[in-house]
């Protein structure tokens, strides 16, 4: 294993004396997403940050370098060549349910494959991949708390999630393919905050639809806590797969109550038909299989993250849930 703790810390940039010695440059993919922007704003205080995204970074802090590159292009290699990349954080997973399956797959899997190739070639000592607890999938037969070695069945009823599982698996294969790189796979539960993901968008609905006769226990995590987990994962010596959860699990109805929203419960058969119709008319951003998330449990056991990663959520349940309304007008 390279002694990255002190050998290559001189990136040529002035840094605060207090910064930790291992702080080389961090490459963050998908940096222009809401979570990405949030992460680099935290990271750039301590270490050099290189952002990669095919989108433009509008209100970029000055000391963040941004390469507007598509992950699948060989131009990505130049980014690796130019800066001494000490760690790669992969957030650039496409979740857009409206994108075609081919687009999705080529972006998520081929793009990530390229990234992995360069991580191997340039011997980057750290790779952090943000997967999701959704890879386990909500099922009636799920144990209440899924551990990291539970099978990834998320694609069984929800085919769009298959390339996310593939990304997770590709990252896992790195454990043995390239043991000198410390690979970390984080599987956070539903991320809430200003982010535009399905769970946050769902809780922003008013009234919030629920499925009649179902009120599954749910875990949520604040986006800031996810950023903190990523920071933890960047620490030297950490490797492996980690489930990451926020505050204690609560029934879905409790989340809606915290927000003070109205609730409409719809029978499942009706909800499914309605959602299919709305989806085909492009009136909703929720693919019909996501209904399973508000019917069945998909909760994780985060003991490993607490013990090995030393991660514990800082936000309370109220703060976490209310954060979906942050910055709304």
């Amino acid at each position: 294993m390279p002694a990255h703790a002190n050998s290559r810390a001189s990136g040529g940039r002035p840094r605060a004396a207090a910064s930790p010695p291992q702080a080389g440059a961090v490459l963050v993919t998908g940096v222009c997403g809401r979570l990405g922007k949030h992460l680099v704003r935290v990271l750039h205080r301590e270490r050099r940050v290189v952002g990669v995204d095919r989108r433009a970074f509008a209100d970029k802090p000055k000391d963040i370098e941004h390469a507007q590159v598509d992950l699948r292009r060989t131009k990505l290699k130049d980014v690796f060549r130019a800066g001494e990349i000490q760690a790669v954080v992969h957030l650039g997973v496409m979740h857009d349910p409206r994108a075609s399956a081919a687009d999705h797959h080529s972006w998520n899997v081929a793009g990530f494959g390229k990234l992995l190739e360069y991580v191997a070639q340039f011997r980057v000592p750290k790779l952090v991949v943000l997967s999701s607890a959704n890879v386990y999938g909500p099922q009636p037969s799920n144990p209440q708390f899924l551990t990291e070695d539970a099978p990834l069945l998320g694609g069984q009823n929800f085919s769009d999630i298959r390339d996310l599982i593939e990304v997770d698996m590709l990252a896992q294969s790195f454990f043995w393919k390239l043991p000198e790189t410390e690979t970390v796979v984080l599987r956070p539960v539903h991320i809430l905050g200003r982010v535009h993901n399905a769970p946050s968008n769902f809780l922003r609905l008013d009234p919030v639809p629920t499925v009649m006769g179902f009120d599954p226990m749910t875990q949520v995590i604040h986006q800031d806590d996810v950023v903190r987990a990523i920071e933890r994962a960047l620490a030297p010596g950490v490797r492996g797969v980690f489930n990451v959860a926020g505050p204690e699990p609560v029934p879905l109805s409790r989340l809606i109550k915290i927000l003070g929203r109205q609730r409409v419960s719809v029978p499942y058969s009706l909800a499914r038909i309605a959602l299919h119709r709305l989806w085909s008319l492009r009136l909703t951003t929720f693919p019909p299989p996501e209904l399973d998330h508000i019917r069945f449990v998909c909760m994780v056991d985060d003991r490993r993250a607490r013990q090995v990663l030393g991660f514990a959520p800082a936000k309370t349940l109220e703060e976490t849930v209310r954060s979906v309304d942050d910055g709304r007008w």
């Binding site: 009636p140 037969s141 799920n142 144990p143 209440q144 708390f145 899924l146 551990t147 609905l205 008013d206 009234p207 639809p209 499925v211 009649m212 006769g213 179902f214 009120d215 599954p216 226990m217 204690e248 699990p249 609560v250 029934p251 409790r254 109205q262 609730r263 409409v264 029978p267 499942y268 709305l278 009136l283 019917r295 069945f296 349940l317």
Partner: protein, 308 residues
């Protein structure tokens, strides 16, 4: 399209507003209902419920979804069935040890009332009171309302991971090793144990948990099933499709008010390798099965009448 849910919500909120008013009117009624229930049962269950250790989070629900507010009403309902409707006789409950246990019982009666009454006995007749966690069939968890109710009263999906976690917390777990084979037995096979699953024995050995055999007498006669139409069951994706003639009679939808008798046996402990071959595990399972069968036979012999 967007106005539709709004309108629904408006209706919803008016209904809720009205129900809020109603609730205030009923607020006092609720208290007196609780008093009435307590009087009918001869004791307030709330005091017992307070003595059950629960790992409640800040939101008042435990990680498995158990909510004491729900559990209270469920326990009152089951308590009435236990004391008034089925007039359960409980034998040997003092033998149940403290700490983690596996209650292993025969399963019968088409509807899992046997599980509810074992739960009621452990809560109302055992000292200290305990909340029994039953391992629920996966199919039931996919049903609306049923899944919700089961979760709120502390029942969990029957998978090994859940069982291990609960036993590690020192809880009492109820397992019916016959599963749906047992509960959907036809009347001619009553009180004959069907094949036992082996999972509970591996679990007991691995977690070093004492097994308490339980024999339930009285459930087989509550719904008399003359046949189990398996093709229909498969078609409807149900675990069984029993034919119960009494359902077509007025009032026959209720279970017959048989007298239940619960026999708790001496705790049994097993040692060995939890990953042993099926044949070795099967021998140990057979011991438990034989114990329950002989408890059943004795219970049947001692029973004076099905209904009293």
């Amino acid at each position: 399209m967007a106005t539709n849910p709004r309108a629904l919500a408006r209706i919803d909120s008016t209904v809720r507003g009205a129900s809020g008013l109603l609730r205030r009117v009923l607020g006092t009624a609720e208290q007196s209902l609780e008093d009435l229930l307590a009087r009918m049962l001869g004791e307030p269950l709330v005091d017992r419920l307070r003595r059950v250790p629960m790992a409640l989070g800040g939101s008042g629900v435990d990680p498995f979804g158990l909510d004491p507010q729900w559990a209270k009403y469920a326990l009152y309902t089951v308590g009435l069935l236990h004391r008034r409707y089925f007039r359960t006789e409980v034998h040997g409950i003092e033998k149940v040890p403290e700490g983690r246990i596996l209650l292993i019982a025969n399963h019968s009666g088409q509807v899992p009332i046997d599980g509810a009454l074992i739960g009621a006995a452990m809560f109302m007749d055992a000292e200290p009171p305990r909340i029994v966690r039953a391992m629920v069939e996966k199919w039931a968890v996919s049903l609306p309302f049923v899944s919700l109710l089961f979760a709120r009263v502390g029942q969990v999906v029957g998978v090994q991971e859940n069982a291990k976690r609960l036993l590690a917390q020192g809880e009492a777990l109820l397992v019916f090793p016959e599963g749906t084979r047992g509960i959907s037995k036809t009347f001619d096979k009553r009180y004959k144990l069907s094949e036992f699953g082996l999972g509970f024995m591996r679990l007991a050995i691995e977690t070093n948990t004492p097994i308490v055999p339980v024999a339930v007498v009285g459930a087989e006669e509550q719904y008399i099933s003359v046949a189990n139409v398996e093709t229909l069951a498969k078609l409807l994706r149900m675990p069984a499709f029993p034919i119960i003639p009494q359902l077509f009679l007025p009032g026959g939808q209720l279970p017959l008010p048989t007298k239940y008798r619960l026999w708790f046996g001496e705790p049994m402990t097993f040692t060995g390798d939890p990953d042993d071959d099926d044949s070795i595990i099967d021998e140990k399972v057979w011991l438990v099965k034989q114990t329950i069968q002989s408890m059943l036979n004795r219970g049947l012999k001692e029973r004076s009448h099905i209904f009293w």
